[in-house]
Amino acid sequence: MPIQNPNPNKKKKKHSNQDDDEDDTVQGKQQTQFEFCKVCRLNHNQGRRHIYFPNHKKALSSFLYRFQSKFKNDVAFYLKKPMPLRPEHAALNRLWCVFCDFDILEYDSSFACGNAIAHLASAEHLKGLKSFLWKYGGGMDRMDSFRISESDFTKWEKKCKLLKSEAAGGGSHGSLIGPLNDIHNESKSEYVNSFDKNKLDCLTSDVKCSNSVVPLQDHTIERSQISHSKICTVGPQILHAGTGVGLGARTPNGLPGFFGNQHYTHSVPKEGPAYSCPNDGKQVYPYEGIAIGDGHSQGTSSEESRLQSLQNLTQISSSAQENGGGNVHSGAPPPWFSAAEKIQLDNKLNQGLGDLVSSLGEQMKTSKLNPKRVGAAWAERRKIELELEKRGELVRHDFGADWLPNFGRVWQSGSRKDSRKEFLGENKTWRKVDSQIEKPSQLQPYISKRMRTENTAE
């Protein structure tokens, strides 16, 4: 045994030597072993050193930046403002989570980026994020910018629920002009009850309508046009009320420009504040009659499930929408003008078109044109003059036959006013000469020497 003891030591030592050797070789193997860096998209054998290389750092920053921009533009926006998701746009709404390496699809979510938000708030994502950052050296302090905190997520969920319930309780009655909550709280029960009745009518009429052209039912079209067109401008809410007029209310499925999330994010924020709470309280919530509008065209499973889940098809009553919104028949301006423009339009209609249109147009133009441009002051004056002439206030007076424009002559040495004076001076002598000699009035391709010398001599 004691004999053996030293042996194991030796062996151990040897072993350790061997281990060292092995370690070296293992390390060497590690060094020679190739890994794929997802960020640089590069196979390298540098092991852990790779993440500190400047190229990798650059690649990483651009990589994270790209993801972050997608995150900010799309997901973060919808986190703040949950909006319902239309099936056509679901395909566009997907997000690739670079940390967890999987594609987040939105086919079965009812809210825009719903699945993405859920994923980004989840624990698995956090795990994936941490491992990614460790592996690729992103800096652990930046973690929060790539995930959604739980508090934000719960807020978002609450907003979504609110939206859903509003949509379910939705529709609007003439008596209800006011903020969201009132409608939600007061009359939800009434709506739920009445909708069931209406729903049947709608469905049956839809069935009838699907194959034949039915004379349009005025009220519903007005309602639907006003309601949906107002909402249309608010980003992806293009679900409109097509109650009872299956065909008739096959109003444009969203405005043509609204494809792709990027468009939403760019266009909506500008108009967002204007539409967050329409003053007249004619909020029509976008879940009405999905089935009716689109059901007979594309019966996808998601729609059906949505149908089943919502069930509360709302009918917009006629009295609500006629509170001064106007419509196509009354000649009102279409609601897709921005609110500001609409106010201006209203003013115009009230005060008379001609003046204000022109003055507005001019104001717009002058505000855009460079005030330093050539002849700006003259142009402004002239515009005012023309406007006055149009209005008939200023009688057009012919400018003297002697008016000459501002012209810089060829061989002129002073300012342009001097040139004019010079010319006028020459002109007087010319007129004298003119009466005597007839030929000069006929221009040859070049003026003969005699005329020229006479001219310059004066």
């Binding site: 133009k365 044109l369 460079n370 330093k372 441009r373 050539v374 002849g375 700006a376 003259w378 142009a379 002239r382 515009k383 023309l386 012919d398 400018f399 036959a401 008016w403 000459l404 424009p405 501002n406 012209f407 810089g408 002559r409 060829v410 061989w411 342009r416 010319f423 020459e426 002109n427 010319w430 009035s441 006929q442 221009l443 391709p445 070049y446 003026i447 020497k449 020229r452 010398t453 310059t456 001599a457």
Partner: protein, 151 residues
């Protein structure tokens, strides 16, 4: 004469043209309808009128009419066709490498040349410059000799 653009024959017409063209370049071409080069110029202008219509107006002036002789002299028009550019009733000069910056003498070799010239004038005018440089290379600019220098 149908193929010519709006031809002005009276000073008053020219005046009103100059005064009423606001914030647009006014291209006034002086020439004679019987001149072949003038007709060539007219052809090019006619093709381009619509394209520049948002920032330029084009008009022809018949130099044979008595009424506009004042302008002929005022603008020192000695070679035809001559084109003078105005912006907001101010005369725009263009340096084409020739001695005369106040006008464009001759025709344009291509429609695109004309468009380039008008665009250069417009850009310069919008920036507040009264004289601009010609964007065309020298081989595209018709050469002429200014016959007489100031004594």
């Amino acid at each position: 004469m149908n193929y010519l653009l709006t031809t002005l024959t009276k000073k008053q017409e020219v005046d009103s043209m100059i005064r009423d063209t606001i914030d647009k370049v006014l291209v006034l071409c002086f020439g004679r309808a019987s001149d072949s080069i003038f007709l060539q110029l007219d052809e090019i202008l006619y093709k381009s009128v619509r394209e520049v219509s948002k920032f330029a107006t084009v008009a022809l002036v018949d130099i044979d009419s008595d009424d506009v002789q004042v302008y002929v002299k005022y603008f020192d028009i000695t070679l035809i066709p001559s084109t003078v550019f105005f912006f907001n009733a101010h005369h725009m000069k263009m340096d084409c490498g020739s001695a005369d910056h106040t006008k464009w003498v001759g025709t344009f070799l291509r429609k695109q040349d004309f468009l380039d010239v008008v665009e250069a004038i417009y850009r310069g005018a919008m920036k507040g410059k009264l004289i601009v440089t010609c964007p065309l290379p020298p081989d595209r600019i018709p050469k002429f000799h200014l016959l007489y220098e100031d004594v």
